[in-house]
């Protein structure tokens, strides 16, 4: 079993935590694992990408372009940017949320959500769009968007471990007072893609 997952988003969206939860779950399932994360300057509202490689044959931590099995996109434009990493026919779970960078407000660059969605629709990826940020708000805070996304990923049955295991590892990692909110977020994400 081998699975390469790319998580893209904007600094502050909980990208690193999501990556660590997926990796810890893999390790505790007995799989070799590597992650690579953006730590430092990029975390200040910049593009962040985490890479998680689990299973035998995970060499270095960087996933070669065009070979990731799964792309978890926390933000629409970053999802599209992250498609460069995805293999042909890979799986995309994309949050519909758009975070307009200051460069767009200042007229220095463009942000066209409709074009982005239509680009995604025309790739050969198996994509799932959801409003993870709204679901996170429903769970208690938009800050648990990352956990909604993990719930959605878990419901697809493509991880090398089961949903319950991922949920348990998530609960182990989250501070006790935030567990209820994150549990709700995980469930909402799971149900969003048709999980029972």
């Amino acid at each position: 079993m081998r699975l390469d997952i790319v998580i893209t988003g904007v600094g502050g969206q909980g990208n690193v935590l999501a990556s660590r939860i997926l990796a810890k779950a893999a390790m505790e399932w007995g799989l070799p694992v590597r992650t690579s994360e953006a730590i430092g300057m990029a975390q200040r509202e910049g593009v962040v990408m985490s890479q998680v490689r689990m299973g035998e044959g995970a060499y270095g931590a960087l996933i070669p372009d065009g070979s990731a099995d799964v792309l978890l996109g926390f933000e629409l434009a970053e999802t599209i940017r992250g498609l460069a990493k995805l293999k042909s026919g890979g799986v995309v779970i994309a949050n519909r949320q758009t975070i307009y960078p200051v460069s767009v407000s200042l007229g220095l660059s463009q942000y066209e959500p409709e074009q982005m969605i239509s680009y995604l629709e025309n790739t050969d990826a198996h994509y799932h769009l959801l409003d993870a940020t709204a679901l996170a708000g429903e769970a208690g805070t938009y800050k648990c968007t990352n956990i909604v996304m993990l719930g959605a990923l878990a419901s697809l049955g493509i991880l090398p471990y089961d949903e319950k295991h991922l949920k348990q590892v998530m609960l182990d990692v989250i501070p006790p007072k935030l567990r209820d909110i994150n549990l709700r977020a995980f469930e909402l994400g799971r149900q969003a893609l048709g999980g029972e």
Binding site: R20, V33, R44, V47, Y59, L62, Y100, V102, L106, Y119
Partner: protein
């Protein structure tokens, strides 16, 4: 036991397993978590962990402990080693008693650095051995073994991870067993600790001999190994490039012999010669400088091996930036003259927004920059910057950083500029931690030489960019013990500065007034803009919102501040959920349209 550890944490565990007793350092991405992980374990493991004011100080403090027989570690990023170069170069002559390990993290790319210098090159320049891990697991083992190598050789040892080891997590085998550390033997007085020129002359030949001793030691090191394969062509891979080579070979379906190098300097001759024995052609894959390749060229020449070498000098392997599996796959294909299937570029997305890192919503630096920009309106001003989050003040729309060179250079570059640009206002911006690091000598220099410039200390009460480490201006040490903080304003006064003010950047009117006074002052003025980093202050302020009835949609809040919490909406600006309530925009809004969220209209 297996743990999911980031490379930096793994090196901290390795240091503990290796019996470290003293750890010092200065924060710097990607190295910082080596120290913070050790500091978090300091009380339990009974080790001394101290943040130092800069890397030179850190190395000297650790060397002192090693003089007395303690096992000591120093952590820093690659450019930090430049600051520590003075003690390092001579420490190599003096030697040490207790094991001394420098963890110096390189940042090819670069991701978070001002250059791509190669610490392996620095190590060979200083004539000191260097270890280059391929992954967090090996980094742990190297950190553990480095102390013994250091003590065997009587020399400091460098451990040089790169970003892709430091900030990579792996399931790492950690051992609860810690080497029994001995009580440090203590300092013994001897002429050997005093580097007179006569001693330097003697020790230089000793140091040169130690190169061969180290090389011999590395002949049997498990950090170098041959992965057997078939054919008369091979690849030598250093550090993280090893995994890229292995994956690229797997993708290409090739089985050629690979020599993994974990001790790039000094390179063990017998290991290399034995590997070259069965080969006609060899490719060297390493990031940054041709450190392994240069030594190979010498060895091949001296041993008259008829082997064809490919690497950086033939432009097969880039000397800049990071490598990855994709790049290495192409390099290998090129080397073996394999046709790769035509790569169809299917990724052709619509225009995507530019998203560089910027100052956070509510960052007090934004308010400080804005106040000084406004105070300097009409005057021709040059804003010199420094290393920290505030380098981002360079970005649109603030454009408040005109120069950035290295730690502490804001004040000194400014001093040089004001000599020539006599009609301009020169304003230097630097952070609190940077002020302690290398700002103070520049400030004293400016006062003594009667410069006319303003120095703005952006005192956000932390070392923010590298992950919020403590510094001497704070009332706590690296391990959280209470300590008397140093007062930057009083320090500036003691340095002879005639105009010193402290102001809260969130108070715009007060900041603007102080900024105007400082710019008008004939001499060196110091303004301490004091407000805690917004990333460590949780809550406390009410977020703001825009009263659309009052908003004139003038665009000032967006176009002047560049705050990521304010975006352009269909009907004027909208303040989003990331607003921290810093209140700067409300104080600037010409129509009073910005109000407290949930407040009465």
């Amino acid at each position: 036991m297996k743990k999911l550890l980031m490379g930096n944490e793994a090196m901290a565990y390795g240091a503990i397993e290796g019996g470290v007793q003293v750890v010092t350092g200065y924060p710097g991405t990607p190295s910082s978590e080596v120290f913070t992980s050790l500091a978090a374990m300091a009380k339990e493991k009974k080790i001394v962990a101290q943040w130092s004011v800069n890397e030179k100080v850190a190395l000297e403090v650790a060397a002192g402990a090693a003089y007395a027989g303690a096992r000591a570690m120093v952590t820093m990023k690659q450019v930090g080693l430049n600051v520590a170069a003075d003690p390092l170069m001579t420490l190599a002559y003096i030697g040490i008693k207790g094991g001394l390990v420098l963890v110096v993290a390189d940042d090819p790319g670069p991701h978070s650095s001002q250059n791509e210098q190669d610490t392996r090159r620095f190590a060979s320049f200083a004539k000191l051995p260097v270890l280059d891990p391929a992954d967090p697991q090996e980094a742990l083992i190297m950190a553990r073994e480095a102390f013994e190598i250091s003590e065997k050789l009587g020399l400091p040892v460098l451990l040089r991870p790169t970003t892709r080891t430091c900030h990579v997590c792996q399931d790492v085998e950690v051992s609860e067993a810690v080497l029994p550390t001995q009580e440090p033997a203590g300092f013994e007085k001897s002429p050997g600790w005093v580097i007179f020129p006569s001693l330097a002359a003697k020790r230089h030949s000793w140091l040169n001999q130690q190169q061969d001793v180290a090389r011999e030691l590395f002949e049997s090191s498990s950090f170098n190994r041959i992965d057997p394969g078939t054919g008369r062509q091979g690849i030598i891979a250093g550090g993280v490039a090893y995994h890229y080579v292995k994956e690229a070979l797997a993708l290409l379906g090739l089985d050629i012999p690979v020599l993994k190098i974990g001790t790039p300097y000094p390179l063990p001759i017998n290991v290399v010669m034995k590997y070259l024995d069965k080969l006609d052609r060899v490719l060297v894959v390493e990031e940054q400088e041709p450190v392994i390749e240069d030594q190979l060229i010498q060895m091949i020449f001296h041993h008259r091996r008829p082997v064809i070498l490919r690497g950086k000098y033939n432009r097969f392997v880039p000397r800049e930036g990071e490598l990855d599996t994709g790049k290495v796959k192409e390099i290998i294909a090129d080397f073996l003259k394999i046709e790769l299937p035509d790569h169809k570029n299917v990724f052709n997305p619509p225009p995507l927004p530019v998203r560089p890192p910027i100052l956070c919503a509510g960052c007090p630096h934004r308010a400080s920059f804005y106040a000084f920009k406004q105070a300097a309106l009409g005057a021709d001003a040059i804003f010199t910057g420094d290393i920290g989050c505030y380098t981002l003040g360079n970005m649109a729309p603030l454009h408040a950083v005109d120069t950035c060179l290295c730690m502490g250079a804001s004040i000194t570059i400014g001093s040089g500029l004001q000599m020539v640009e006599t009609n301009k206002k020169v304003v230097a911006f630097l952070g609190d931690s940077t002020f302690f690091h290398t700002g103070i000598p520049g400030l004293i220099n400016a006062v003594h030489n009667q410069a006319k410039q303003t120095v703005v200390v952006l005192d956000n009460r932390t070392t923010a960019m590298t992950g919020h480490q403590s510094h001497p201006g704070l009332p706590r040490t690296a391990i959280g013990e209470p300590v008397e903080p140093l007062d930057i304003a009083r320090l500036a006064e003691a340095c002879g500065v005639g105009f010193v003010r402290v102001v809260d950047p969130y108070d715009y009117a007060a900041s603007l007034e102080v900024a105007r006074q400082a710019l008008a002052y004939e001499g060196v003025a110091v303004v301490v803009m004091r407000r805690e980093c917004v990333a460590i202050v949780k809550g406390g302020q009410t977020a703001r919102m825009i009263d659309s009835e009052k908003c004139l949609d003038c665009g000032l809040c967006i176009e002047e501040l560049g705050c990521p919490a304010i975006a352009k909406g269909e009907e004027g600006p909208v303040i989003g959920a990331s607003c921290t309530g810093c209140d700067l925009c409300r104080q600037l809004c010409p129509s009073g349209a910005i109000i407290e969220r949930g407040g009465a209209k």
